[in-house]
Symmetry: C2
Subunit: 426 residues, 2 copies
């Protein structure tokens, strides 16, 4: 395809998505739920063709010498298919966000003013590797009454095409427009460039993938972007704290899984408990092979921990998202210093205070400028399912529109409605 043809293709898809979005915005809850339950059924019935398509992607990935963890993320196992099918049914069971009317108040002029929740319109989803995102994005689009244009990774193209055909069939079965969920069928990277520069047909772009992808999209997009770049999450252990709780939560936040964006990457400890707490958590980390990059006080307190992997933290370490068995650690003099450090070096994703002191808990909640702020809980809870959103299309570290895990409501906006009886402005 020439670049002119590709641009025309993306433009045609945009026009079709815009038309489908009007029908989706007006679609009944029962039609949307019908499509979602049909999709769950079709996924379960299609194990064989999905496996066949997935085998092509796996073979190509292995032939291209992709690293094993990358190949694993491509796999559409029976378990993955069962999980996404169940996800569709869970979204069908959730309340329809569209049409909710809130806060209607009578004004002195006589008019009643309130707000109605409506779909955003068309979103573009740009993602890498994991083909299950195709179904997650499609199902959230359907329930929230949006149309979407999906652009998956080229390495998953056969799997994505097979999944998308099921979405088309489910939409058609429910009497909804098939163009409500479209898939970019070329692996040409220029398609992304055209998609993110089409404000006339795309209302928002949601990228999910590596930092390089997200930086490129943020830089070049001419439409709003819901994104997070980094998850440099902090755990701050306050002066007054239940040490058992602090050990358990810090351990979980860092070591339960190393790769998620809500895993802790930096530990701050108040000087009043540093001598008690740090050797204990240091021993836990040493047992699990977690390297500690600390300031001088941390290193001194950990020097007698058997098998501890220690290094001196550089300035860069305070900003680092390791996604690995490494944690930076610093001793601070006060909750103020902890808050200032987090607001300066953090990525506005998720940060937790562990404390028994109520004023400090409240100050941390109010003053840490992050999408999720926690008291006495593991940062690993920052997740759409754990928050009760049913599903998440992504996590936002922007302050605009949607912060943190973005579910169905993040794919909608509130318009004003005015109900009158012939009132005029004087």
């Amino acid at each position: 395809m020439t670049s002119t043809e590709l641009q025309a293709t993306i433009a045609r898809m945009g026009t079709a998505a815009r038309a489908a979005s009007s029908l989706m915005a007006a679609a009944s809850t029962s039609a949307k739920n019908h499509a979602l339950t049909a999709l769950a059924r079709l996924l379960r019935e299609s194990a064989a063709p999905l496996a066949e398509a997935n085998r092509k992607d796996i073979a190509a990935a292995e032939a291209a010498g992709l690293a094993a963890p990358m190949v694993d993320r491509l796999r559409l196992t029976e378990k993955v298919i069962a999980t996404v099918a169940e996800g569709c049914e869970q979204i069908a069971a959730m309340p329809d966000p569209v049409g909710e009317i809130t806060g209607v108040k009578r004004r002195p002029s006589g008019i009643s003013v309130g707000q109605m929740r409506v779909p955003l319109g068309v979103f573009g989803m740009i993602y890498e590797s994991r083909p299950n995102v195709t179904i997650e994005a499609a199902s959230l689009a359907i329930k929230s009454g949006n149309a979407c244009i999906l652009r998956g990774g080229s390495e998953a193209i056969h799997s994505n095409l097979a999944l998308w055909k099921l979405v088309q069939a489910a939409l058609t079965e429910a009497g909804l427009p098939a163009d409500a969920v479209q898939l970019v069928q070329t692996t040409d990277r220029a398609a992304v460039g055209y998609l993110i520069a089409s404000p006339e047909s795309v209302d928002v772009i949601i990228p999910r993938g590596g930092k390089g992808l997200i930086e490129r999209i943020s830089r070049e997009a001419r439409v709003p972007v819901i994104k997070h770049l980094d998850g440099n999450c902090h755990v701050y252990v306050d002066a007054e704290v239940d040490l058992e709780l602090a050990l358990k939560v810090t351990d979980n936040a860092k070591t339960q899984k190393y790769s998620p964006c809500n895993a802790a990457e930096s530990l701050l400890v108040h000087e009043a408990v540093a001598a008690k707490f740090l050797p204990k958590i240091g021993a836990v980390f040493a047992a699990k092979g977690v390297e500690v990059r600390g300031d001088a006080t941390v290193l001194a307190l950990l020097k007698d921990v058997p098998q501890a992997k220690l290094a001196e933290a550089t300035e860069q370490d305070w900003s680092e998202e390791y996604l690995a068995p490494i944690i930076s650690a610093k001793v601070v003099k006060s909750v103020d210093e902890a808050i200032a450090h987090i607001n300066r070096y953090g990525s506005h994703h998720t940060d937790a205070i562990l404390t028994t002191n109520h004023p400090n808990a409240m100050r941390f909640l109010r003053e840490v400028d992050s999408a999720s702020v926690m008291v006495n809980a593991s940062t690993r809870f920052a997740d759409g399912f754990e928050y009760g959103l049913g599903a998440e299309i992504g996590i936002s570290t922007d302050k605009f529109h949607a912060r943190g895990p973005v579910g169905l409501e993040g794919l909608t906006s509130m318009k004003w409605i005015v109900l009158g009886q012939g009132e005029v402005r004087t």
Copy 2:
């Protein structure tokens, strides 16, 4: 100032605003209200120096041959000063939006998850002519716990500087950081370019002014923008309608004032009532000198109205924001055609249906994709004061974050809070 110096100045202001925004986010409601009531008092006490500064701007504008309406918009009359002083007191009397906690729910894991309203951080306000915007923006920034950087029109620079000095004094009197409200003191237009490209220090830009200014900012901004470009507002007169009500509301929407963005620019009439309604509203428009640009049916129905000013509507007329005694008019076959026309040609600002038919009212409310959608009320009500927001910093026709009139809440966002007792993820 060289462009390097100017860039450094804007960067310094940004750093100072960022620092001030942390203090403002944590400021007490009483300190913020103290600053607002002090500002109201200082405005009332400063009639003489404000008039003196304003005279310089007026004289320069007249010497430069500015049109009389432009010069009028510059005037800081006693009435304007009294109004903005009263506005500060009204904002002081409003509830503090910051710190509101909503929707806290216990999750199966044991954590409680909810949301807390917090300031956006730093906003940049770019505006033209009317110096009272300086006080409106400053007072909304103070109450919402944000810092702001103001960039008024060069023609109002002396007035803006005089007003801003009062804001500085009020902040200082209340023990709040003076840098919470800064004014760009040079009239060099390059300052705008640096300001809108500073995501590290500015969270959102709010432009208020002509279409040229707003288009330039939308194109060049590297931070989110809250804006509206056009107000092509529609009144649709449905088949089943109270004709008296329709006449009164249509008249008000078009003729109560011609220049506001919420004035009606286009009239759609169902064919079932066209022959009854159009000659009547045509006579009203003729009496007030309003030109009607109609389709063939409209022109035929208005041809016998004495003194009617008629023209055939071109395709361009359906998209036009006249801000003048001109209205486009079209006869439609159904509410569907009306909705489709509005969604195609409108500017997503404010649109009204006049009807006695409940299903049509509900369909219009749901399906018209605009920031404000009205039933049986004049589009002129689309306004922060009329909606009960107390004040507005601007009107947004974007779908993201804030739609329609933007008041204190539009200058905040919701972050997630998690309250635990040591829960960990399993």
